[in-house]
Subunit: 291 residues, 2 copies
C-alpha cells in the first residue's frame, strides 16, 4: 500500500481561488475575540478533524463558530461580527442607527434619516452628527451579502451632495458652525479607486477594514457596540422584533432588559440572553447590577 506524501490541505475562498489551509489564521481570529488559549486549542482540534481538501472557507468559518458557541457564547457572538453586520439588513435603517450609535459613542449629537437642504436641492442624509462647531454628514452603504464592494461611484455621488450642503451651510448668515465633514461608511470594503478618490477630496472613509487598525471591526470591538444580530441565543425573527423596537445594539439590551418580555422572552431564557449580551459587549450585567 502506497500512502504517499501528505499534500498540504487546501481551502476554497469565496472567489473560487484555492489557498493552503493555515491553522495560524484561525488561531489569530480567535485571539482577536479574546477566546481563552484552552478554547482556541479545542476549536482547532475539532476543525482539523472535520476539514477536507478544498473545503470552502465559509464552511470552515461555520465549524469554528459552532464550536465556539458550545464553549463560550459571548466569544462566539464577537466572532460572528461580520455576519452580524450583514444581518442588519435587508433595509439600510438598522445599519444607519448602528452607525449613528458609533458617532454618539464619540460624543456627537446624532440624528438619523434627515432631509438636509443644499444650495441647489435637498438631500436625504443617513446620519447628521454634531459636536461643538463641527457637523458631520454620514452616508451609509449597507450590503447584506458578502463580496459586495463600494465603488468610486459612491464617493463621487456623495461628494457632490456634500458640496451642495456645505455650500448652503457656509452661506447662512450668523451660522457659527463652521466646520463640515462628509463620511462614507460601508460594512463591506472600498475599491482602491474609491479609496483614492474619497481620500483625495477629503471625505472620511470607514469600512470593515479601513482605515487600517481603525476599521469598523476594531471600532466596534473597542466601543463595545456589537449589534444584537451578534447574539446566538436569540432567533432571527426575535432579532427583527427587537430592531423594530429600536434595539440595535447588545448594549441597548443591557440598558433595557425588560424589552425581552415584550417580545415573549422571559425567565431563565431571558437571563441567558442578557448574559450573552453582557459577555459580547463587556457591560456590567444589568440584572445583577444592584446586588
Amino acid at each position: 500500500m502506497n500512502l504517499g506524501k501528505t499534500m498540504p490541505m487546501k481551502v476554497k475562498k469565496a472567489n473560487g481561488e484555492l489557498a493552503v489551509f493555515d491553522e495560524e489564521k484561525i488561531r489569530n481570529s480567535l485571539v482577536r475575540v479574546n477566546a481563552s488559549a484552552r478554547n482556541i486549542e479545542r476549536v482547532i482540534e475539532v476543525v482539523k478533524g472535520e476539514i477536507y481538501d478544498a473545503i470552502p472557507t465559509d464552511k470552515l468559518y461555520r465549524i469554528v463558530f459552532r464550536e465556539l458557541k458550545k464553549l463560550r457564547k459571548g466569544v462566539a457572538g464577537k466572532y460572528n461580527l461580520k455576519r452580524a453586520m450583514m444581518a442588519l439588513g435587508p433595509t439600510g435603517y438598522p445599519f444607519e442607527k448602528f452607525i449613528g450609535a458609533l458617532w454618539e459613542s464619540d460624543g456627537f449629537n446624532v440624528r438619523t434619516g434627515q432631509v438636509v437642504k443644499g444650495a441647489c436641492v435637498s438631500h436625504e442624509i443617513d446620519v447628521v452628527a454634531k459636536k461643538r462647531n463641527l457637523t458631520e454628514f454620514v452616508e451609509c452603504k449597507h450590503h447584506s451579502s458578502n463580496g459586495n464592494v463600494c465603488t468610486v461611484r459612491n464617493p463621487l455621488y456623495f461628494y457632490a451632495r456634500f458640496l451642495d450642503i456645505e455650500r448652503r451651510e457656509v452661506a447662512i448668515p450668523g451660522n457659527t458652525i463652521r466646520k463640515f465633514k462628509g463620511w462614507l461608511v460601508t460594512n463591506m470594503r472600498f475599491t482602491s479607486e474609491a479609496l483614492s478618490y474619497g481620500t483625495c477630496v477629503g471625505l472620511g472613509l470607514l469600512s470593515w477594514n479601513f482605515p487600517p487598525n481603525n476599521g469598523l471591526r476594531e471600532r466596534i470591538d473597542r466601543a463595545g457596540l456589537h449589534p444584537i444580530t451578534c447574539l446566538t441565543s436569540v432567533s432571527r425573527p426575535q432579532k427583527k422584533k427587537l430592531m423594530d423596537l429600536g434595539i440595535t445594539l447588545c448594549s441597548n439590551l443591557c440598558e433595557r432588559p425588560e424589552v425581552l418580555s415584550e417580545i415573549g422572552i422571559r425567565g431563565s431564557k431571558a437571563e441567558k440572553v442578557i448574559e450573552e449580551a453582557v459577555a459580547v459587549c463587556g457591560a456590567e450585567h444589568p440584572l445583577h447590577a444592584r446586588h
Copy 2:
C-alpha cells in the same frame, strides 16, 4: 333605439392616463416635420377612420407613421425621430457618436470615448469637445425604451467627475485652455430635480425637450443631423451593419453612398435609400450631384 349623445373619443397615454383625443395635436406634429397640407389632411382622415375609444397613444402614433410612410418617406423619417433616437441602442456608443456629431456641427473638434485624468482619479468621458480656449466634457445617457428619466443622481455624479477633471486641468502649468464646461445629454427627459441641480451648479443640460425650443429634437431638425435609424427603407439589421461601419447619420450616408453596396444594398434599392436619406436630412442628392 337610443343613439344618445356622442361622447368625445379618449386616448390612453403611456402612463395609463386617459385624455381627450385632440386632432390638433396630430396636425401640429405633422406641421413640425414639414408634411404638406394635403398629406396632413389625408393622414388625419385615415386616423379618424381607425380610432377607437381608449386607443393607446402608441397605437395612434403607429397609424400616423404608417400613413406618412405611404405618402412621403422623408417626412415619415423625421416623424420617427424620437424612436430613431431610442433605436441607436442598446449600447451607448452610437448615441455618443451622434452627440459628438452635434458638437462638431457647432464647430468643435470632437473625440469620443476618452479617458481623462482628474486631480484624484481618471474618468471615462463620452465626448470631449474643443473649440479655441474652451473644452467641453459631455456625459451621454441613452435609453432604449420610452418613459425612462434622467434623475438628479446623474448630474450629481457627473458634476463630481467634472470638478475632478477641471481641478487637474486648471493646475497644469502653461495650460492656455482656461474655460471648461460639463454637459449632461439624454435622449429622454430630466426630472425637475435634475434640472434644478444641474442648472444651479452650472452644468449644460440637453434632453429631448430641454432647453425649451432648443432641445435635441429642434437641434437635430435644424442641423439636419438625423440618425440613420430614422430611415424606413432600411431594415433593422442593415442599420446595425451601417452603424458598425461608423455610419450614424443620414448625412454620413449622403457623403458615402458607396457604403450601401458593402452591406449588400445595390442598384434601384440603393437609389431609394439615398433618396430617403436626402429627403430626411435635406442634403443635395449625392448620386445626382454631378449632373
